[in-house]
Symmetry: D2
Subunit: 283 residues, 4 copies
């Protein structure tokens, strides 16, 4: 494959935007490899919509600068990525290792084209696994004031030029301050049920309710919401023979798969967070 | 296939129950075709469990009476069904016809081995479909006091010896009094999402939240809970291109399938409601 | 929603095609509502690829004619549809009614935005259902020479300006001659298993082999292949308790859902058949 | 949980077998925790069926010996397991590590209650991972005559008292002689598609055919069949944007999950292979 650029762009929908971008790309003789164009209008109000765009196009001299000028002059919010540059991930984990193992191994196998630059944990038990792949492991216990702990972690992330934080069952709540440093750049996984169970011990609640599906939701972390924009979800079917431990085990399996998938979508630059706080995933 | 009996039985778990039942059946030279035996102990307390049993065994002279005597003398709650006798269903529907059509057609095709004895609706629009299959259709509008309306419906159900009421998108809330007449004999379907959305216009809420799965839950209706014991659940994957109408459409598809499946499980006598208000489905 | 045009276009991939189309549309002040752009290169040979495009854009005076001139002059294969015009479907069915019912009812509910212009069958049993919706039903028995029978059917289809033939369990093999009249305009459904079973009684074979999933494939019918381009597939999980009849029943359920979905994709003009005889489904 | 016994039993179906077993267990005051009873009659011939039984019951002094005497005297084929004794697994792997990693990590997390006694590989690349968990790793290259190589491997397996061989993408074909040493004690995983593709490069074939689902089948290895009894299957949905590499990646994900699930079913003694060469999985 040739090197390519990936463009994610958002603006108020109006006539001519896509024509503008495609003609700029064409002027530089760069071929468009993929293009997803999605407009969303509020259900009630048909007059004001948003346009979400994703392009993959050949890396040709000059096209990037020209495009950036064009996008800026039209007030289009965008991110532009080079396919040869891998996203730098800081992987956060507490004790449970399932989601952590899955993400780390998929990156190792190059199934997720990213680089894990460090592992941060409030437990020591996953050090060995991380270090066996020569990934720096930072033990940051939660025994100090949260601002102190979080500053240490922010320093570690900064030191490694972290671009994405993946919470692979990191069981500490991040402060608004922390989250604001990485807006829409922190991915988390949590259990999901139909119907959902809020509060302590959701698997126990789900077992008592006799649910037939166990699910997981991968989402961005935001400061002002319990849950941020959903990236991916999946379920596994269970039956009455599953006890609470079996539900937890099944939950781990679906969590691992969904988190890894969500991370893959992100590092392939397939996700746009909308103004309405949900995601467009050009899967 | 030979005619057979189906037995659903529940009691406190103790040594010897299954031995007792199987030896009684064997004494009459009746062969057991299926046997599901499930014990459930509370997670905390290991000393007191419940036993749930389902048997299918050949219909042989004398075995039924002997078994009933045995079960009664040991304080076992049970239901005993004859496979040659079809469950009589009253199908309730409002305007939307998707779940109604699906259940009715599966019964017509003998995919669900039951008999639809009547259709009850607060709208006229589904009369034609019901009557084209020679099923009595009762229009019972909701323009009177609820007790009056419900008494009319109870009379209709009684007249047709109704054994199971299926709410195929019947958009009227049934009173406790009504529900108590058909304990664990009313099946309903409702939408389900991960995470779930309570209140008005759940599909709009789900769309705004950007969910990636649309689901449905088939359950028994109970008087003292918002939702009774879950019989079956399923989901269909969606993406950001689905607008609110598309979500509703997808919801209808999964609702139809799940309701029909739940009804099938019930009329095959595969479902036991536990003391803990959930179901054991020997699927 | 405003009326809109849908464009499906295919050509050799080269720089500038999308720019050309989008700028033509923009010139007429028509807004693009959706745009899917997909290029596919042979895995080995990176130099020659194909471009597949789907546009939805506002219906504005003049844009259609201008676009058609442009597309023709650049040797682009295309189809251009008006969203206000429904696809005319001839629904073919033999005895089994499940897929036939599902497609017909989804069209009635406007879940599938199409018009069923006639039903053709080699059996009489589905006449009543079709006619209860005022759809013309043609009984064309298979007791004559195939060319004679097929000519009758072609005449019926022509009389109703049929644009799409849906084989909803129509158990007659269509000749190459017939298929050539409706290239990529005939959709069929067939069972699918992992692993697949060829020859007589596939459900018996699947049962003997103990498969855990029952599937279905919706595809276009082509003359030169056993199976044409796949539009959609799905599976339902089963277990050892399912006998051969249960497998058939499950097969019917998944067939109905997959066929209806495939038809919906087609009439929403979301499917392009590639030169390599597979489909691009912009789902 | 108390220790318990698991019994898998198979015999010609006749009246009284389950009564016999349950009364023997009850005599020793052992409580039955689970009981699955399944009879299967040939579809055509109703007179000769097979009975498949699975019991879990409390480990009480004397019950095991009494039961074994009883089972033997009635010509019942059986296996009796003690829940406190973990199955000893030899894990075979070639170069690709995904299924190997998944099974090994699930065993480490005690999600699969088994013991991996050794890893056998014809490549060195997975040595580090195995040894980091203190599991003996044997490099047995394929550069000698197959009988010589296989004898080495059989010796390794014997040395470790191997009870189950798991082929986690072990890309060597095992001889009939080898397979006969471990009848229904070797589990393999292979890709599955609807429709299936035989021969070289199935993912390329599947891509060319435009399949919409990628699947995997976990099965026992037998000498006289291409594929032995199926234990589990699953699929993942894909779309036209997946190239051949993406199909392979998706195939790896579903292979890992299905293999791990199949191994779990086996070591929980939930699988019986029937005389008809398929499985009963009491899942």
């Amino acid at each position: 494959m040739h090197d390519k650029y990936m463009l994610l762009a958002t603006c108020k929908d109006k006539v001519g935007i896509t024509s503008l971008i495609t003609s700029t790309i064409a002027q530089y003789n760069s071929n468009i490899l993929h293009l997803d164009h999605f407009t969303e209008y509020d259900n009630k109000n048909d007059t004001e919509g948003n346009l979400y765009l994703r392009f993959e196009f050949e890396k040709v001299d000059g096209v990037k600068a020209a495009l950036e000028t064009e996008l800026a002059s039209h007030n289009i919010t965008y991110e532009l990525f080079d396919s040869s540059v891998k996203t730098k991930i800081a992987l956060f984990v507490s004790k449970e290792d399932h989601a952590f193992n899955e993400v780390l191994l998929r990156v190792q196998r190059e199934e997720i084209p990213a680089e894990i630059v460090c592992v941060v944990s409030n437990h020591e038990n996953n050090r060995h696994f991380a270090e066996s792949f020569n990934i720096p492991f930072y033990y940051v216990p939660s025994n100090e004031e949260k601002p102190v702990v979080e500053q240490k972690i922010l320093d570690i992330c900064a030191k490694h030029d972290t671009e994405l934080i993946v919470l692979a069952k990191y069981m500490q709540i991040l402060s608004d301050n922390f989250v604001n440093h990485y807006e829409h750049k922190i991915i988390n996984i949590h259990h999901s049920f139909l119907p959902s169970f809020i509060g302590a011990n959701p698997y126990k609640q789900a077992w008592e309710r006799g649910v037939k599906l166990v699910g997981a939701t991968g989402h961005y972390v935001t400061s002002d919401l319990d849950e941020g924009p959903i990236i991916d979800q999946d379920v596994i079917r269970i039956n009455h023979r599953y006890n609470v431990q079996d539900l937890r085990k099944t939950g781990r399996h679906v969590e691992s798969q969904v988190l890894a998938q969500a991370v893959e979508y992100h590092v392939l630059h397939k996700v746009i967070v909308t103004t309405g706080n949900k995601t467009i995933v050009f899967a």
